[in-house]
Structures are given as C-alpha cells and as structure tokens.
C-alpha cells in the first residue's frame, strides 16, 4: 500500500494553496471572530470552485475523490485557518454520510453543492465521540455538545441508537432543534450545543466505528495543516529575529524545539495519509479503520497544539497580542484538539484495545 500523495493530489494541493493564499490571509480569521457574516465571502469562493464536491466519491471510477483528496484540501484549509465550515460540512457531516448508503445520497448531494452541515457526535460528559441520540417510533431525541460549525449549518448529521441498531440521522435546523451557541475557544470556527426532538429527514443504519473514522481523519488533516503553518511561522521568525548578535534560530534551544515540531508534524501527516489510504481500501475491517483514524487524530492534535504553542514561545511577547496571528493558530489548534476525542483519551482507547482490555 502506497502512503503519500500522487502527482494529481500534489497538483490539487498546490491549486487549493494558491487560491487560499490570495483569498484567505490569516487576517480573515481574525475578522471572522468579530463579524459573524464575514465567512460567507470565502465560502462562496470555495463552493464556486467546487471544493464542497469532495463530500462524496464521484461516480466516475477514474476521477472519484477518495479520502486522501479530502485530506489534502482540508489540510490546506487548516493551514490557512480559513474561517469556513468546510471541515464541518464535507469532512465531519459528509464523513458519516459517505458510509450510510444510498438512503442519504440526496443529502450528500446537497452538501456537495454547498449546503452547510454539521456533525453532532459528542454525547454530554464524554471525551470520545459516540452516539448522542436515540431514535424511537420515528422520532429523534437527545442532546449533543460541541457541534463544530452548527451556528452556520442548515443540516445536522448525528448518530442515534434505535431498536434496530445504530443509525445515522439527518435533521434540518428549525422546529424541534434547539441550537445553543457557546462562547468558544476559536470564534472563527463557531460551535454550538444542540437539543433535538423532531422527526429526522432521513435515517440509515451504520457501523459506528466506520461512521466516525472519516470524520476523525478530516479533523486530523485540518490539524496537520495548522501544525504546518504554525511551524512555518516559527521558522520564519527564528531566521529574522536577532538577539545576542545572531538570529535566534541559530541557538540549539530554538533549533531543537522546532526540529521536534517537525517530527511531530510529519508523524501526524504520515498517520493521516496512511489512515486515509486504509479507509479507501474496502477490504479494511471497521475496527482497523477506526484505530488508524484515531491514531491520526491523536497525533495531529499533538502536532497542532505543540507547533502552535512553540510558535507562541518563539515569537515571545508579540504572540500575546490580538493583532499578531499566533493566537489564531493556537485557538484553532486547541479547539480541534478537543473535537472528536483529545489525544490522551484516544491513546487510552487504542492502548486498551491493543492490550485486550474490556471494550
């Protein structure tokens, strides 16, 4: 099994990067924190360029979008800290829908066309994602917290237990859906809690581990992007800032911290690409796919938070100010790190499975 990007994927990465470099400077995230409608301009560009179509595998076998393509685009958006609901829509919500069969095809097509969706997968009081809702007599009921992108979403995808086993369920934001926006770590990526008591638009049976695997990879890719961008900013500063008569990057204290950041970044990137390749292989059992995705998410959280925190340290007092970009990266990293399972919780779950402990 190959791990990494082929020439088509590298070209996709470069084109996405070029667009974001002009359309979405880091300052856009800062503006989005105070202006709740600011994201729409970038979103319009992104939808027009067709990036939301990565939500679902295309029909033509030759050019179908796999999870690696999805990861490539989300990684670049993470690197640009783009304040848009692309991760939430095509990574998280559509990530569940893509394993929910033909029943959800219409919803998936809507998301592919730019309808904003969010994934409610955090039961209150749990560190790991799971099944927050119940489906009884055709009615969906329950509460979920920390739903990324929900304040901007029209559709909610969630997981519910039912008499016939777990299902993916889709509801439209409106009657019977109480959205409670929260003051979140990264206001450029607003989050809300939700209480649902309504009839879903559609439901489809799913395997919970398969359903959560693609969302885990999607968050991982976003965080790999954040880690990469934060490290690049540190390197740039370490080369240009002089103290004691030389660039601070000439001191091993800085050098080794940034080398460790690089190791954490590439560790996470390798795990993300490897997990995406595993999930694109239909022969992969769901538990193996979940573990690969969870390893990637855990590693990417560590890389993003590590690189962003080091970047604050390298930039010194400058990074403590609103006008400097570094808090934007750190907020994004911290928020993503707590979404769909923090590193330690995921490592614990993976380690316990490996050791053969009770599920």
């Amino acid at each position: 099994m190959d791990v990494g990007l082929n020439s088509g994927q590298l070209a996709l990465r470069d084109s996405v990067r070029d667009v974001l470099r002009t359309e979405c400077r880091p300052g856009v995230a800062r503006q989005a924190m105070t202006d709740p409608e600011h994201w729409r301009t970038v979103w319009k560009t992104v939808v027009n360029l067709g990036w939301t179509e990565l939500a679902a595998p295309a029909n033509g076998a030759d050019d179908s979008f796999g999870r690696i393509d999805l990861a490539v685009v989300l990684e670049e958006c993470g690197a640009a800290i783009a304040p848009i609901p692309l991760l939430s829509s095509i990574g998280l919500a559509a990530g569940v829908l893509r394993v929910a069969g033909p029943a959800v095809a219409d919803v998936l097509a809507d998301v592919g066309g730019g309808v904003v969706a969010a994934l409610a997968a955090h039961p209150p009081g749990c560190r790991l994602p799971g099944v927050p809702m119940t489906l009884q007599r055709g009615r969906l009921h329950g509460r979920a917290v920390a739903v990324t992108g929900l304040p901007r979403a029209e559709l909610i995808v969630t997981l519910a237990s039912s008499a016939d086993g777990p299902v993916a369920a889709v509801v439209r934001v409106g009657d019977g859906v109480a959205v409670k926006a929260v003051e979140c770590t990264d206001p450029a990526q607003p989050v809300a809690d939700v209480e649902i008591d309504t009839e879903p638009v559609v439901t489809a049976p799913v395997d919970v581990e398969s359903a959560l695997a693609t969302p885990l990879i999607a968050v991982a890719a976003d965080l790999v992007g954040v880690a990469d961008a934060a490290l690049a900013r540190s390197v740039e500063h370490a080369k240009s800032r002089h103290q004691f008569g030389k660039p601070i990057g000439a001191f091993q204290g800085i050098k080794h911290a940034l080398a460790d950041n690089y190791v954490a970044l590439e560790r996470a990137r390798s795990l993300t690409y490897a997990a995406a390749a595993r999930l694109d292989d239909p022969a992969t059992p769901s538990s193996v796919g979940w573990t690969a995705a969870a390893l990637a998410k855990a590693a990417a959280s560590e890389a993003a938070v590590g690189c962003a925190r080091t970047a604050v340290q390298v930039h010194g007092a400058l990074a403590q100010t609103w006008e400097h970009d570094m808090h934007l990266y750190l907020r994004h990293a911290w928020q993503g790190a707590s979404t769909l399972g923090d590193s330690r919780a995921l490592y614990y779950a993976i380690g316990r499975r490996f050791a053969g402990g009770a599920g």
Binding site: V3, H256, Y347
Partner: protein, 373 residues
C-alpha cells in the same frame, strides 16, 4: 502481484532455513553465532542479502520496493541478525560505490559471505559527533601512507580482518575536505586492538584501535584522496535508510511484551499504561507510514525530506517502549534479564549513526533552513 511473489519466495526460503524450534528457543538462538553466520552465507548465496544488488554481490537486482518488503518480512519474522552488520550494511555499499575493480574483486565476496569481518574506523577520543574533527594522520610516503593515531568505540575490531579507516591526509584543508578513507588490514604491524568491556551483554563489543606508524598502501585508498567525507556519508546513508525497519520490528516486540505482561491490567495503574501504549502505537505506525512515504517519493523521483525523522523517531520510541514494558511488569522487571538487555541495547539507538542531538541539528538546518550555530 510481482512484489508479493518475490516476498513469498523469500519467506518460503526463510522457513526452510530456520531450525524447527527457532521461535520456541529464540532467546537462545539470538546469540547463536554459528546460526547467524550460516544465515548470512545462505542469504548471500540465495540473493537475499542485498536484494537490489546483482547476483554476484548477494542480490537479485530487485527494485527498492521489493527490497524493502523483503527486509520487512525478514525483520518481522525475526530472521537471524547479521553477526557483523558493519560489513554488509556499511562497508560494502561504500566499496561498491567507491572501490576500484581490484578492491571490489578482492574484498567484496568474502565480506558479503561473512568470511571476513569489517570494522568502521571513525570515532576517536576527541572526535565523536564531530567526526570531521578527527586527528589520526596519514602521511604519504612514496606508494604508502604512514598512519598514526587512535580510534575508539570501534565495534568488533578484535574480530575483524579489515577496517575502513578515516584519517587526515591534508591538515591544511578545511576539516571536511582533508579526510581520506583507507582500507586497513588489521593484521598490519603497528596495529594494537584492545577490546573494551561493555556495560551489558553484547556481541557488538567496542574496541580501542591504536595505530603506531602503520603502513597502508596507496592502492588501499577508498574513493578519492581527501574525499573521505563523501565516502563516509554515502556509506552510512545506505544503513540509515533501512534502520527504521529494525527499530520498527523491535518496537513491535516491545509492544507485544507490554501486552503480555501479567500486571498490565492492574486496575490501579493500567490507565496510564494504556495511554502511553496508544501513543507508542502511533509512533510505530508513523514510522512504518513514513518509511513508505519516503520510498514512494523516492520512486517518483521527488525529494523525501520526511525520511529524516525516521532515525530520531525510531530510536526514541524504541527506548520508550522498553521503559513502558518495565513499568507494565512492575517489580517483575527486576529479575528479567532479557528486559535488562533490551533496555540497555535500546540506549545505543539514540547515539550510533548520529546522536539525536545531531539529528535535530540536521532537521533544523538542512530541512527547516535555520542558520548554523
């Protein structure tokens, strides 16, 4: 698929070679020098020793991908360890790349068959990480070099016939450009070899090699005069590309030992073990995935900078995994001689082939472009 059939062939060959009770008695067999020598000779003859090389040099002219899969298969099945790794994996690639026809003809086959062992004459008392700062002098005298100096931490020199000896041939040149590589016959007059007692059980004994006016023919120059730095870097690079596989497999063994320890499910402290275990599983998988990524880039003729994390990540992970193994077995670790060996052996991984500190400097300077200190 082409590759799986060649790996399958290797795998079947390995099964045939290994004694029936190999896995039951692996604890003994891993020290069995006779078996390990036999393995090297058989692998050479069957073309599995260096799969990318031609038949006469112990290979089958296979591609990098097949060669990596064969190495992985051998490592995963705990194939016997080569008794003198420095020979086939460091000296041999250097001789193939830089050697004259006469040198290749005289030296390579006995080396690859394991009949003649090799030592690497690199470190000195005053030149460790700063290899280019070495002081051993080689002075031209007609068709000879006269060599004076001291080498240390020279693994298995007392059992070796040959040594790739790095010495200063131009004291006035900048330090990287005044070094040459000489092929030293360790039976030459003036060579004194003193083995050094190791802190742990080991068959990779360090030696001190004292060179007192040793004569080395100019014909024994490996590579260009004053081109020793390039010879050293290329020779080591071959091993560096593959070292992650050894680390990865040893890490898997460590992870299995954690899983198998009696106290791993001790309710009081198992949570902490599970969390560290998960983190190490990520390291192990990242090592494998990064090795594949680097190969994929290399085959596509693209740069593979990610390969530079393999040594650092692999060596640190190896140490952490055996520390966790000790923690997971509680006081059971105290009378576990195998575990003691694994912990001591893993300590070398962050030192040989470039210390972790040097690795971090390489990443920071060559990859990230930070200025030299």
């Amino acid at each position: 698929m082409m590759s799986s059939s060649v790996v399958g062939e290797f795998s079947a060959w390995l099964t045939d070679f290994l004694p029936d009770d190999y896995y039951d008695r692996y604890r003994d067999y891993r020290w069995d020098l006779g078996l390990r020598r036999g393995y090297q000779r058989a692998a050479f003859e069957a073309g599995w020793l260096q799969p990318t090389w031609p038949r006469e040099h112990g290979g089958r002219s296979l591609g990098l991908r097949d060669a990596m899969e064969i190495r992985l298969e051998g490592a995963m099945r705990s194939a016997p360890k080569l008794p003198n790794i420095a020979g086939p994996n460091v000296a041999a690639p250097g001789i193939r790349q830089f050697g004259t026809a006469e040198q290749i003809d005289r030296l390579l086959v006995p080396l690859l068959r394991g009949d003649e062992w090799w030592a690497l004459g690199m470190s000195e008392p005053e030149a460790g990480s700063d290899f280019a700062g070495l002081r051993t002098r080689a002075v031209r005298d007609g068709d000879l070099f006269r060599v004076k100096g001291r080498k240390i931490w020279t693994t298995q020199a007392h059992l070796s016939r040959w040594c790739t000896l790095y010495a200063r041939t131009d004291p006035d040149a900048p330090k990287h450009r005044g070094i040459s590589c000489l092929i030293l016959d360790l039976e030459s007059p003036g060579v004194t070899i003193e083995p050094i007692r190791m802190a742990s059980i080991s068959d990779e004994t360090f030696c001190e090699v004292i060179l007192d006016d040793v004569e080395v023919p100019v014909a024994n120059l490996l590579g260009p005069c004053n081109g020793g730095w390039q010879v050293a870097m290329s020779s080591l690079n071959h091993e560096r590309q593959m070292i992650w596989i050894m680390n990865w497999v040893e890490i898997q063994r460590g992870l299995d030992s954690v899983r198998g320890s009696e106290t791993v499910h001790d309710d009081y402290a198992s949570g902490e073990v599970f969390t560290e275990l998960g983190s190490l599983l990520a390291d192990a998988e990242a090592l494998r995935a990064t090795g594949y990524r680097a190969l994929y880039n290399e085959l596509a003729d693209r740069p593979s900078p990610e390969a530079d994390i393999l040594k650092l990540l692999g060596s640190v992970t190896l140490q952490r995994v055996w520390e966790l193994s000790a923690a997971a077995s509680g006081p059971g670790s105290i009378d576990d001689a195998d575990l003691l060996f694994e912990r001591q052996d893993a300590l070398a991984a962050t030192i040989y082939g470039g210390t972790s500190e040097v690795q971090r400097n390489i990443i920071a300077e060559r990859l990230l472009g930070l200025p030299k200190g």
